[in-house]
Every structure is written in C-alpha cells, then in structure tokens.
C-alpha cells in the first residue's frame, strides 16, 4: 500500500486528536523524592520585578544566613553569593536597585572554561561548583559576565550541614539547591516575599502551570547581558 504525504499527515492529525486533552506523553515536573534524580524536564529559575525591589537587603542577609556565608570584614576578598546593585541613569537621575547573583545560564561560560569539570550545570538548570574536584584556578570567576563567583581565601568553620564550604574552592549562588531538592523555594525568595518588596518569584520555567511560566509568557521581561545569548534562568522585569 502506498501512502502519499497528505494522507499520512491527515492520519497523524487524527492520532494526535485522539489523545485526550491534558494527557501528556511525558509527565512534567512534580516534587522529587530523594531517590529521584534531577531531570531536564524541569528548569529552575527566578523572576525578579525590579519595580518592586526596594532599598532593603533582606535577600542578601537571608542568603548568607541560609548558606553560612560569613565574611572576615574584608569586602575585597569576602565571598559574596548575592549582592544588591544600584543603577542610576546619569541623564535623568532615575535610580534602581536589584539583586544580582548567579544567573544559572543554559550555556554557562563558567562551565566552558573549567579545566576539571568541577563547574557544571545540573540537569534541572542549576549551575553548581563540585568542590570535590575544584582546584581553585578561578578561571570561572574570570569567565562569568555577572561576577557572580567568589573564591574562598581563608579557612572556614561553622559551615551549615547542607552547604559545605572550604578554603581554596570557588563558590556561588546554588539557587539553594538543598532547599529546592526538598521542594522549598530559595532563601532569598522566601525572605523577599516575607520581609521585602515581594519582588522575587521562583519556579520551574518549563512548567506551564507555574506562575513564573505564566508571567514570563504574558509580561515583558529581560535578561542581564542578553547579547551574550546565555539564556539565563534568572530574569528581570522593569530593567
């Protein structure tokens, strides 16, 4: 029996229509169990509405508290996982402030340059440093266009159980991966929504039922240095 192209397509359309609406061939994101690996079906991301971002720094405080990031009073070399950046239009004087952290790129330059494979992107889009294999060369610190990575210069004590940190390795925002794996939101988002300007939202960019997905689809948003085509997981509104 010979099939022409038109007939084949008609059959295909019929077969597709036979699948009930809402029935997916591949199931989408749900909370993972500890025995389930991170999957590429999900892509975690943040949406930060700068118009709501106030002068506070609760996100920074919450992040450093959650991850046990403490400095030695030496801002030049102390680790910094998230920081507030102030922007001011020189001509009009219009000032804005925004939190900046690892942007969890789809094509992360830090991963490209890492000589040991320590800097890597997990299947669900979270960019991490495997400190077991990090040799502290700091190529990634140089490569990151967002200056999001820090080097730990001094011996660390009093680490949090879920967030190991040590001298001689590079670190950055992990999107609170230990919380995300438990089904919680990152500490900065939680703090911003509790004590701050409610400017931050966290969710699965691939999940069409997630609020972040809906807002990204229906409202304007932008990436920092979109010209680099890194497809960041952290998006901004009002920039």
């Amino acid at each position: 029996m010979s099939l022409d192209r038109r007939q084949f397509l008609a059959w295909g359309a019929g077969a597709a229509a036979a699948l009930a609406p809402g029935l997916r061939l591949i199931e989408l994101a749900q909370a993972r169990s500890p025995e389930e690996a991170a999957s590429a079906l999900q892509r975690w991301g943040l949406l930060i509405d700068i118009t709501k971002c106030t002068d506070c720094d609760v996100c920074v405080t919450a992040c450093h508290e959650e991850n046990g990031v403490s400095g030695h009073g030496r801002p030049e070399t102390d680790a910094q996982w998230i920081r507030k950046v102030s922007l001011r239009d020189k001509r009009t004087g219009y000032a804005q402030t925004l939190p900046l952290m690892c942007q969890h790129c789809e094509h992360p330059p830090c991963v490209d340059v890492c000589p040991t494979g320590a800097s890597f992107r997990r299947d669900d889009g979270i960019v991490l440093v495997d400190k077991h294999t990090c040799i502290g060369c700091r190529y990634c610190v140089m490569a990151c266009p967002y200056a999001a990575r820090s080097f730990v210069h001094e011996a660390v004590s009093g680490q949090k159980a879920d967030v190991p940190r040590g001298k001689g390795t590079v670190e950055s925002c992990t999107l609170c991966v230990h919380r995300v794996d438990r089904g919680e939101t990152p500490a900065c988002v939680e703090a911003c929504n509790r004590d701050g300007g409610k400017a931050m939202a966290f969710g699965d960019l691939n999940d069409s039922s997630a609020e972040i997905h809906r807002r990204l689809k229906s409202e304007p948003s932008s990436q920092v240095r979109a010209d680099l085509a890194l497809n960041t997981g952290v998006r901004y509104q009002g920039l």
């Binding site: 660390v156 159980a161 190991p164 040590g166 991966v177």
Partner: protein
C-alpha cells in the same frame, strides 16, 4: 604411648603459648577508640563499613552532587548524626569517631575541611 602424650602436650602448650603471645602483642599495640553513640546497627554490616565506607561515601558524593539524589543511606550528614560524640557533638577531636581511627591508620581525611563535623538538629554541638 608416652611419645604420643608428649606430642599432644607439646601441641597444646604450643597453641596456648601462641595465643598468649598474640594476646600480649595485642595489648602492646595501641588501638583506635571506636565509640558508637547512637543506634543498634549501621547502614551496612560492620566489616563492610570498615572496608568500604570511603567508596560508599565517594559514590554517594557524586550521586548527590551531580544528579541531585539525596538518598539518606550513605549520606555523610547521616553518618555524622549517628557517630558524633555525645560530649562534643563532633566526629573529630581526640576520641572522635572519624578522627581517632584515621589518626591510628595514618590516613588524612579532607571531608571536614568543608563539611561540618557537628551533629545537626536540636542537639547540634550541645552535650547530652
């Protein structure tokens, strides 16, 4: 008959002497302090844990780090929670579960340069 009895006596005495020598040797050799603070049984038989704990931890390390699998069985955090000392709340220190044995075996251990050696939860760091 006498010859046979003498032979048996020699064997028995020899064995006893051998066992005695072993006992004496054992008492002369310093042994690591292995104090187990919590629970009846470990996640695997003692022999297996003694031989293979490093491999098990290494494998779990990569699974957790790379794949996001946080299975509790061989998690370092759970090791510490059971084995940390009641006095110090830590697996390090003079009689610490990890450090005493590694000092005995002269094996350096890097885990706790980054990971916390302290038991977590309400009892973290507090003597019980």
């Amino acid at each position: 008959m006498m010859r046979f009895a003498a032979a048996v006596l020699a064997v028995v005495l020899g064995l006893a002497g051998f066992a005695d020598a072993q006992d004496r040797r054992a008492s002369r050799v310093a042994l690591p302090a292995i104090k187990i603070e919590k629970g009846e049984a470990c996640v695997a038989p003692t022999g297996e844990m003694r031989r293979d704990h490093m491999t098990l931890l290494l494998r779990q390390r990569d699974r957790t780090m790379r794949e996001g699998l946080r299975e509790p069985r061989f998690s370092l955090k759970n090791c510490v929670d059971c084995h940390a000392s009641r006095e110090t709340g830590s697996v390090l220190g003079q009689d610490g579960f990890c450090s005493s044995c590694h000092a005995y075996a002269s094996v350096s251990m890097d885990c706790f340069e980054c990971h916390t050696p302290l038991r977590q939860g309400a009892t973290a760091g507090a003597p019980k």
